[in-house]
């Protein structure tokens, strides 16, 4: 499974590829009608792209290129042919069955149990339901009861189960890199604590990530009671310092949004659909609102319109009806201008490159006063958030924006907190530093020189999942229990507390943060994590109601806040009609709006990576191999540059450049992104790790090496120098599985949709069922399974891909094999650009699972009938029959079939075996596979219904992709039942089949995306 990513990272002396972006522009401008394109190469029709298009796999993908050499390979093949069939002659080995000694009461072997728990990211909890098969957690899903999940889970939560089983996790206490034990650690710690106690802990520091856990916060404050001079610091590399800026000196105030009420949304460099702690809930609200137009086709009411200004395309930007590519450094000035327009008059007149966009946005905001919403991103300075708060005030938006205390236990300004810790470290004032989770040596601002500071600490203790970059500077490393291994608690973004319930005993000799803190407070381990959390919660309730409340909370996965509690968290603001002073100079600590980068003055933008976040998931193969939205890069980050900048600097994809910013520089590969702001270069955080493990180490480049504490979001003054003659192979899946500019994606504006609800350009018509001379091959007397995917609400977040990977035992293949086009994802999210402007394209996402055609081209070409048609319309792939001719894949117009060229599933590492879904066969080398519509789930529900002598109810079967979709864009069900949700969706005039003109009659169909551009904005 963990194939070595190949070492072709930097190719020396690769031939210069012609820089033909100018020709591209001309091509796009000359084209007629709507144009959908997948990549720059697709528009320019480079030979490489045409190869992707015309061949099932690129040249070489189906060849053995590694050592042993060709001659040896032929010898091996000859031997394989001679012995073909002999493999079938093995006798099954004798197996043992081990029943329980005492069977747990609620457990019946073969029936998975589901437990509620929660996972934190950036400190904030999201409620989850985790499936356990005979004690092994195998699948993570969202908890419908939890307000910040609503049943959905994002890519990180979906992939967290693989993190639990990561064989690179540390297993024992380590002392200076050598195996040690908890007892030795305590023997060393106790005298150190006594020493600290003598001076009230003056030399003691605790560094945590963002803490929302009420129990952990209580433990730390307990500790600080004993050591009154000790200090607690919190640091998260992608934190909410500036977002909580809205009121000076009150870091605990946080804005909460309700997108379901918002008619006009303006996002200023905010990726609220993905990067926000409440993004799952926000995405759900946004989709519900967006659906209003299509669900009530007759309604004439205004449709929701999303304005986004951002430097680099995110999935939020891709959903924008009006998007402005705007340097991050320009956003403060843009926000200021917006505030001015709103304050000054209601017939806005602006100037500058963004005038049209801004005027249109302000007009819409005014028109929808009370139902509008402005939100700024975490990467923007506090002043932007202040301005946004003032704008929301002026627009009287209490329905859509409210303010409340944030969920963090003790909110601090984290960069300042870390800065003071760094000063103390370098000043030699720290004797005992306890790092509870996190990886500051890797992800702290580089100017604070945390590694240098750590070297000066006498005794440093690191608690972490893995022996990482920080652990190497610490005398002691204590393995941390994964959230599926140890009890804890957390709060969601809206403050709702959850108990984190473990599903499995710790795999290694690990401890939770609570157990470590307990040992610090009492100078010995007194209790396990469960007792610590339980007792803290008991102290919050009266005795008689406690047991019930506790059980309820653990069972539900969330403690519901009463109305009183919710109200207590709300902070009322004076809702003003106008912005009194649109630039409240003096009131806010940072009135500096920054200087907009003039042409030639480049800026570098830092963003958390959509796959590995801040680097903590770098060793997770599912996430590394997940094509990032927009760029579809896997296994790497890259310096994302705009086409104009690339033209100016004569850069092509995969060129290596030196990025120099304020005296520091790194080398990074280049990737040209249509829609990138001209003078912005974006580098995602989280790559370039050196001690992540077998999967993550050495992938990509380390953006933290350029990130300083005064530019956590972006910094201007970037210089780029091309390193001549060097190339860095990047594994982008963007062109893989291309379907040649056919009518595969449909979009229409709201106006077009209202005029003709079947709108959307129909270049080709689906043949009617009776337009054939032949009798139908198949009839479907019982169920007929089908799927409808609403492109109008798909935000391209990739959650479905990881959910599918986790549910269906799909292996990863490694960077080199992705370059070969051998990735195994059963569902992919195709990304399209559209429009004639290379610099301001529109973005579209299209999830593509198997179409389960009624006239499937794959079925008729299989020589061994390994792909057959079921009476319920499933297109089945039978692994035990498949001999790997790959004819089916060759004949599939949708390119959804995946072939196991090599033995990718790791069948020897115990941890990976524990993760597998026992209801799905683990495929071995030489077998074709593809989406099954999660047949294991269909069968399970069907069996249950048959035992109860009834039909399957609508919505009872949820495929893995559908279950996790934050926007409910995927609907699965019985198309024979006219009342089912999927049937009703398919009856909508927006419904279309991909390449239906081929007569394949796909069961998976799509619903046209309806955009709502503002004509006045020139869109």
């Amino acid at each position: 499974m963990m194939n070595e990513a190949n070492d072709r990272r930097v190719d020396e002396g690769d031939a210069e590829r012609p820089n033909n972006l100018g020709a591209l522009r001309a091509r796009l401008a000359a084209a007629d009608g709507p144009q959908f394109w997948r990549s720059l190469e697709a528009v320019s029709e480079t030979p490489e792209f045409n190869q992707w298009l015309h061949r099932e796999f690129p040249r070489g993908a189906s060849e053995w290129t590694d050592a042993p050499n060709r001659r040896q390979f032929l010898k091996l093949m000859a031997a394989s042919f001679a012995l073909a069939g002999v493999t079938a002659c093995t006798r099954q080995p004798v197996e043992k069955v081990l029943p329980y000694v005492k069977q747990p009461e609620e457990l019946i072997p073969g029936i998975p149990l589901v437990y509620a728990t929660a996972m934190t990211l950036g400190g904030y909890g999201t409620g989850l339901l985790v499936e356990s098969n005979e004690g092994r957690p195998t699948k993570v899903e969202g908890n419908p009861e939890h307000p910040m999940s609503l049943g959905a889970a994002n890519v990180f939560q979906q992939a967290s189960v693989l993190e639990l089983y990561d064989p690179d996790r540390s297993r024992t206490v380590m002392r200076a890199g050598e195996t040690s034990s908890w007892e030795e650690f305590m023997a060393d710690l106790v005298p150190a604590l006594a020493e600290q106690k003598a001076k009230q802990g003056a030399g003691m520091r605790i560094l945590t990530e963002t803490v929302t856990s009420p129990t952990l916060a209580a433990q730390i404050s307990e500790l600080l009671k004993f050591y009154s001079q000790a200090k607690w610091h919190q640091y998260e590399p992608w934190n909410r310092d500036s977002a909580r800026h809205a009121q000076p000196d009150k870091p605990q105030v946080e804005a909460h949004h309700d997108f379901a009420q918002a008619q006009t949304i303006v996002a200023l460099d905010s990726d609220f659909l993905f990067g926000h702690p409440a993004s799952l809930a926000y995405a759900r609200q946004f989709a519900r609102k967006r659906r209003e137009v299509t669900e009530n086709a007759g309604s004439a009411g205004a449709a929701v319109r999303l304005y986004v200004a951002e430097p680099t395309p995110t999935i939020t930007g891709s959903m924008a009806d009006e998007r402005l590519a705007c340097a991050a450094g320009d956003v403060p000035a843009l926000a200021k201008e917006m505030a001015r327009l709103i304050a000054a008059d209601r017939t806005p007149k602006s100037s500058g490159p963004w005038a049209k966009w801004l005027e249109a946005a302000v007009r819409d905001l005014f028109a929808n006063r009370g139902a509008s919403l402005v939100i700024a991103g975490e990467g923007q300075p506090g002043v932007v958030h202040d301005l946004v708060a003032a704008i929301n005030d002026a627009l009287i938006n209490p329905k859509t924006v409210s303010y409340g205390y944030c969920a963090e236990a003790v909110p601090v300004r984290q960069v300042e907190s870390l800065r003071s810790l760094a000063a103390d470290l370098h000043g030699g004032e720290v004797d005992l530093l306890v790092v509870v989770g996190g990886n500051p040596a890797y992800n702290a601002p580089v100017d604070l020189d945390i590694p240098g500071g750590l070297r000066r600490v006498k005794r440093c203790v690191h608690l972490g999942l893995a022996y990482n970059e920080t652990a190497q500077f610490c005398q002691w490393h204590v393995p941390e229990s994964h959230y599926l291994e140890g009890w804890s608690d957390t709060r969601a973004f809206n403050g709702a507390p959850s108990v984190i319930q473990p599903l499995i005993e710790p795999l290694y000799q690990s401890r939770t943060a609570h157990e470590l803190l307990d040992a610090l407070v009492f100078e010995q381990s007194t209790r396990g994590a469960h007792d610590i959390v339980y007792e803290h919660w008991r102290s919050e309730y009266t005795a008689e109601e406690f047991e019930k409340a506790w059980r309820r909370t653990v069972h539900d996965g969330v403690k519901r806040l009463t109305n009183v509690e919710t109200a207590a968290k709300r902070i009322l603001r004076p809702w003003l009609n106008v912005v009194p002073e649109y630039v409240p100079v003096g009131v806010y600590p940072n009135p500096d709006l920054g200087t907009a980068p003039s042409p030639g003055n480049l800026e570098l933008v830092f963003k958390p990576d959509p796959s590995v976040w801040d680097g903590r998931f770098a060793n997770n193969g599912w996430l590394q191999e997940l094509p990032k939205p927009i760029t579809k890069l896997t296994w790497d980050n890259a310096a994302l540059v705009s086409p104009k900048l690339a033209e100016r600097l004569k850069l092509a994809n995969e060129d290596v450049v030196e990025l120099a910013l304020r005296g520091r520089s790194i080398h990074a590969p280049v990737w040209i992104v249509p829609g990138q702001a001209e003078n912005s270069v974006t580098l995602h955080l989280g790559y370039g790790r050196t001690m992540a493990g077998h999967v993550g180490s050495g992938q990509g480049v380390n953006a933290y090496a350029l990130r300083t504490s005064d530019m956590m979001g972006y910094g201007s003054g970037l210089e780029i120098r091309k390193i001549e003659g060097k190339k860095w192979r990047l594994a982008s899946a963007q062109e893989h599985h291309s379907l040649e500019g056919r009518d595969i994606y449909r979009t229409a504006t709201v106006a077009e949709f209202r005029k003709d609800s079947g709108a959307a350009p129909k270049e080709s018509e689906e043949p009617k069922q009776d337009e054939t001379l032949y009798p139908p091959d198949h009839t479907y007397p019982g169920y007929a399974w089908g799927m409808a995917i609403d492109l109008n609400t798909c935000i391209g977040c990739n959650a479905c891909m990881v959910a599918c990977q986790s549910e269906n035992n799909i292996p990863i293949v490694g960077k080199g094999e992705v370059i070969n086009g051998r990735e195994m994802h059963w569902i992919r999210v195709d990304g399209y650009f559209s429009g004639k402007d290379l610099d301001a394209p529109e973005f579209y996402h299209q999830p593509v699972p198997c179409m389960h055609c009624e006239n499937a081209p794959c079925e008729v070409v299989c020589p061994v009938e390994a792909t057959v048609h079921s009476p319920e319309g499933l297109n089945e792939q039978i692994y035990n029959r498949c001999i790997g001719t790959r004819y089916c894949s060759n004949n599939c117009p949708y390119k959804v079939r995946r072939f196991n060229f090599l033995q990718w599933p790791d069948n020897t590492t115990l941890q990976f075996k524990m993760q597998r879904n026992p209801d799905v066969t683990v495929r071995s080398r030489g077998v074709m596979e593809k989406c099954t519509y999660c047949v294991q789930r269909i069968n399970e529900v069907k069996i249950t219904s048959e035992k109860e002598d009834r039909r399957v109810r609508d919505g009872e079967i949820l495929t893995a992709c559908q279950q996790t979709c934050p926007t409910e864009a995927i609907v699965f069900g019985d198309v024979n039942d006219p009342t089912s949700r999927v049937s009703r969706l398919k009856k909508q005039p927006r419904n279309f089949g991909m390449l239906a003109e081929l007569g394949t009659r796909p069961r998976t169909t799509y619903l046209t995306r309806i955009t709502n551009p503002n004509q006045e904005a020139g869109g």
Partner: protein, 223 residues
Amino acid sequence: MAQIFPPGSNQAVRAVIVGVPLAVLAVVGALYAVEWSPWATRMWVPISQPVPFSHKHHVGQLGIDCRYCHGGVEKSQYAGLPPTETCMTCHSQLYTDQAMLAPVRQSLVDNRPIAWTKVHDLPDFVYFNHSIHVNKGIGCTSCHGRLNEMQLVWQDQSLYMTWCLQCHRHPEKYIADRSEVFNPGRVAAKDDPAKGLDWAKKLVKDYHVQSSGVLTDCYTCHR
């Protein structure tokens, strides 16, 4: 030109013409015989177990219901093996000094499971579900044979796909009343001419057994 073939060649050719097909047939026949031999199918071979548990005694003589030990059979894909505690419900009182039962007692003391040898072992790409079969009127004995007469359990059927398909193609031949499912003396419809085929077909209909088209669909058992 001299003769190339000696006079005996004709005989040789005749022998080859007859012999080669015979040899092929013999090889095929031999392979077939091996394939269906108890060595390959593991049919009728009593399997030794850490504790020589006798179904004949417990089921046949004592009349203990199948579900007393195999509690998952109506709910789960697995019938389930009894945890040690189930054995000890009786054997903490009965035969407490029997050496034969030492592994059971030891299992309880050590909290380590008894490692039984699997008798019915389907390939890993086959997903058999006990619960749906017993809920649709297929009895334990349909696949497991007369357990009430077995001391050590053996595999009573080949468990080959062709054997599975006999019933999936014609469930009416093997079905019987739901009340008979756990009866060791259960008689399948085909062996009960008194009741007739129409009765069996009615059962199939009443129990909403899926059509043979669905039952013989690949994804019913493979996925």
